[in-house]
Amino acid sequence: MKSFTKFTGIVAPLDAANVDTDAIIPKQFLKSIERTGFGKFLFYEWRYENEREKPDFILNREPYRNAPILLARKNFGCGSSREHAPWAIAEYGIKVILAPSFADIFYNNCFKNGILPVVLPDQDIEVLFRKTREIPGYQIRVDLENQRIEDSFGYMSEFQIGSYQKDQLLQGLDEIGATLQSSQIIDSFESAHKIYYKLGVKIY
């Protein structure tokens, strides 16, 4: 996973609450056994009709087509746990999502895929939506290291993020590799831990 650097980019306003992972990547694309190939199907039912782009959908309009920052309303990423949703978002090229709140599983999945979900207070989200309406091609600068977003018109906000998640993005940690370093601790836990279910295990 690439590490996360500071950058400035266009903000695409997706003015919807409760954007669920079914909307982010619909079920017909979940049959793939690959980790890639989902970007072109991001927001499929909102983006396309009869395989043609819907001109009024935000990501089908200039200058938002390649926007790396998505602005949305509360409870973003609710519903299904499918990691295909952040895979699709990352592959499409969105690096940051700004919203008043995120659903838990989606929020966790973001950090494993190089996406920064930024929780901002409602009033900041309102300000940002207004700015995207008023300023053509509105851009913000995202600085994860200093936990700060700002524009060139005087808006600045600091955001909260756990230090562990921050490191995940900044350093692109191999979480499994790190856990496997503790294998002996897991061994000793396991030897004292009892599990009471058993099936007639048939090993191939």
């Binding site: 609450a17 409760n18 049959k31 409870n75 299904s80 838990d104 897991i186 009471y196």
Partner: protein, 475 residues
């Protein structure tokens, strides 16, 4: 200071704690299926890693499989490839798989409890958000992403931050003619689609203690629909009675030992929750969702929203939802006609659900313009239903009787709601496009779904003239 049920399970499973880092939590049971696991196995192969404890992972096929005749060839080539990949992965890594020919196959959240794999005090994860279902047994169970599936396969643990706790105190009794589905839909309707985000919710109180295990599973299943990380219910004598004799449950001395262990899992009287909410079960009536999230819901005697009772930030989403659903504000729920009925899903496809739906359907005919499906949650449920003659009740009434799977809940197979068709569904999500592109989903209980199939529109099941079964053909 006492501990909550959640804290007791958490403490029992912490392998390692480090400052500013998530805890390393041991996972007792890992459930996998064809859709969210292939990329995890691919990751293991890329890094040349093995599965740490293959005997603690159980696999089944449920999401993308057909529910029609299993002896026919698999028509969806891409879905077939996914199912084949699961089979190969299980074989390569030594994981037990209940495949399409297995008598134990079924929806992952139906089979684990019915086999007795789901037990109090356990940690259970699955790459599926409705893993919260297993909380009905007092197990800490939650959905995870595919990266985490890979982590559990490799290390039998997960890195987790502790959640906050929420006590949902449910007072009073559920009235006659209402169900666990109506209860959980009412709670989500009152508190909202994201009320419990960041929390593990424990359902408490008299109304919960009175529920059967299957009803408790329906409640915990939809915890995720109010944003909760997991749902929990304290195990009690009903839990233990349900488990006794199940395939994977120990017998004899080991049963006694397990029972002693399970009895420790309750919330201490002086334990503190981060948040407390109250709900009066006595006010529940049969519920029908009218919108595109489960919190957009009304009673059968009510109408679609008139926006008056909504908070300001809910008005615009409600207008958008009604537009998608093709409904006017203030439409009486009983005037909404339907095209399809789906009785199934990890929310409502257990034997008790099918018995209740069959009781309504017995002796009636599905309305001419309605296509109705009954999809048992597992092969074991199907077999039991057939032994009780429930299949014949459904078939005579004009319902289709299918093989076990997730089916029309998410429409990954051929079981779809077509554009602008309206479906009464016993599943858990009424999101835009969930059951098919531009499909309109109304979430209801199995009883309400069966009644809607026959009436062709939503109807108050409390007034339904039930016809007694004359003969019971036990096979």
């Amino acid at each position: 200071m006492g501990r909550t049920l959640y804290e007791k399970i958490w403490d029992k499973h912490v392998v390692l704690e480090q400052q500013n880092q998530p805890s390393l939590l041991y996972i007792d049971l890992h459930l996998i299926h064809e859709v969210t696991s292939p990329q995890a196995f691919e990751g293991l192969r890329i890094h040349n890693r093995s599965v740490r404890k293959p005997e603690l992972t159980i696999a089944t096929m449920d999401h993308s499989i057909p529910t029609t005749d299993r002896t026919l060839p698999f028509r969806d080539e891409i879905a077939k490839k996914q199912v084949d990949a699961l089979e190969k992965n299980c074989r390569d890594f030594g994981i037990q798989l209940f495949d399409l020919n297995s008598s134990n196959q079924g929806i992952v959240h139906v089979i684990a409890p019915e086999l007795g794999l789901t037990q109090p005090g356990m940690t259970i994860v699955c790459g599926d958000s409705h893993t919260s279902t297993h909380g009905a047994f007092g197990a800490l169970a939650f959905g995870i992403g595919t990266s985490e599936v890979e982590h559990v396969l490799a290390a039998q643990t997960l890195k987790q931050f502790k959640s906050k706790t929420l006590a949902m105190n449910i007072h009073g009794h559920l009235p006659q003619g209402t169900t666990a589905k109506d209860l959980i839909l009412s709670i989500i309707g009152k508190y909202g689609h994201d009320f419990a985000t960041g929390h593990v919710v424990e359902y408490r109180g008299e109304a919960i203690r009175n529920l059967t295990m299957e009803e408790r599973m329906t409640v915990c299943n939809m915890s995720i629909e109010m944003g909760a990380r997991a749902g929990l219910i304290e195990p009690d004598s009903k839990t233990f009675a349900f488990l006794k004799g199940k395939q994977a449950v120990p017998e004899g001395e080991l049963w006694e030992e397990a029972l002693e262990e399970w009895k420790q899992y309750y919330t201490d009287e002086n334990a503190k929750f981060d948040l407390t909410a109250d709900f009066n079960a006595a006010e529940v009536i049969p519920m029908v969702t009218w919108g595109t999230n489960p919190g957009q819901v009304a009673g059968i005697t009510e109408t679609t929203t008139l926006f008056e009772d909504l908070a300001e930030d809910q008005i615009r989403p409600a207008k958008k939802a009604l537009q998608y659903m093709g409904l006017e504000p203030g439409t009486p729920i009983t005037e909404i006609a339907i095209d399809k009925v789906f009785i199934g899903s990890c929310t409502n496809s257990r034997i008790e659900d099918l018995r209740k739906a069959a009781k309504i359907a017995n002796g009636y005919k599905v309305a001419d313009h309605v296509e109705a499906l009954v999809v048992p949650g597992s092969q074991l449920v199907k077999k039991q239903a057939e032994a009780e003659g429930l299949d014949q009740i459904f078939i005579k009434a004009g319902f289709q009787w299918r093989e076990a799977g997730c089916s029309m809940c998410l429409g990954m197979n051929e079981d779809l709601v077509l554009p602008e068709e309206r479906c009464a569904s016993t599943s858990n999500r009424n999101f835009e496009g969930r059951q098919g592109r531009n499909a309109r989903t109304h979430l209801v209980s199995p009883e309400m779904a069966a009644a809607a199939a026959i009436a062709g529109r939503f109807t108050d099941v409390r007034e339904w003239p039930v016809k007694e079964r004359k003969e019971v053909s036990l096979q």
